[in-house]
Symmetry: C2
Subunit: 153 residues, 2 copies
DNA sequence: AATAATTTGGCATAATCTGCCAAGGAATTG
DNA sequence: CAATTCCTTGGCAGATTATGCCAAATTATT
């Protein structure tokens, strides 16, 4: 992956639907080698996919919650079951295994507070093996970007 | 925004570069009304943009860190300056104002631990007004999706 | 400096986008 | 309940874009 690939990636992070011709112009290539590089990035897995950014509030899911989860124990079966089950919960957009005091960090989207309570009661607790939950609500978004930093600092 | 718009959004979250023809087929419309709906979603701001999902590890930024930030005080000038400055730090992909013990939650991507130390010393601390930082490193990703849950649960 | 390997650019064809207009369907009103 | 109005849809035509192939140019290697 050379500098041109990086510029392709950065351009597509800003606008993932840019036409190949515009992309080519932006990275100083003609369309065919540009397209070939994009396809190669896709095939090699560096480009995992494309997506649309939705205004969650306008969509009707205005509340974002970060939830720190600690498991009651760390036996294989408890861990495996939690990870398998959490994957299937639609409201959980992200689930990370973390260092520090808690085991997992979830990003959850719901419509409102009442919805969040239902989510915890009906989706999280039934999973079992959870020792504690610590929820922090998002008041506001200062920054949210898809553009990764340049590699050479 | 009716059911068809929701299906359009969900399809584009899974594949943001799907051609309009495929999208139309997937939501049972012909291409022209489908395109019109997409344009309307873009103009109304529900669709904020399109992006590419990059494998951060393959890209060379394998370490993700969540940082909880507490400010020393909450005067207007301290808050404003922090939010203005943090926005310009490329390694900060997300910055949320949070309820709970700390004021902000950051998601930061760096190449490695050495890089993270440099990031804290050169990018975060110079901002000033920071009372404490609490960093948690991501060990693994259990789930990461762009697909918002359906609205009716 | 010569050769080999890789990458690039241009061209032709195929696919897709996009704006316009008539037809269809839903809602409203008398 | 029927007539009108309004909104949405579908199809078509021209413009734009994608895509595969081949020769030329560039880069790396020896």
């Amino acid at each position: 992956m050379d500098g041109k690939d990086q510029r392709i990636i950065r351009a597509l992070q800003r606008d993932g639907r840019m036409t190949n011709q515009d992309l080519a112009a932006k990275v100083n290539l003609s369309p065919s080698p540009c397209l070939r590089r994009v396809k190669m990035l896709e095939q090699s897995g560096i480009i995992k996919g494309y997506s649309v950014d939705i205004d969650t509030e306008a969509y009707g899911l205005g509340v974002t919650v970060f939830v720190r989860v600690s498991l009651a124990d760390h036996t294989d079966s408890t861990v495996k079951q939690f990870e398998k089950d959490i994957e299937r919960v639609d409201q959980v957009m992200e689930c990370y295994v973390m260092t520090g005091a808690s085991d997992y960090l979830l990003r959850v989207v719901v419509a409102d507070l009442a919805d969040y309570e239902k989510f915890v009661r009906r989706k999280l607790h039934p999973i079992g093996g959870i020792a504690s939950l610590d929820s922090s609500f998002v008041y506001g978004v200062v920054k949210k970007t898809n553009v990764l930093p340049a590699l050479i600092d």
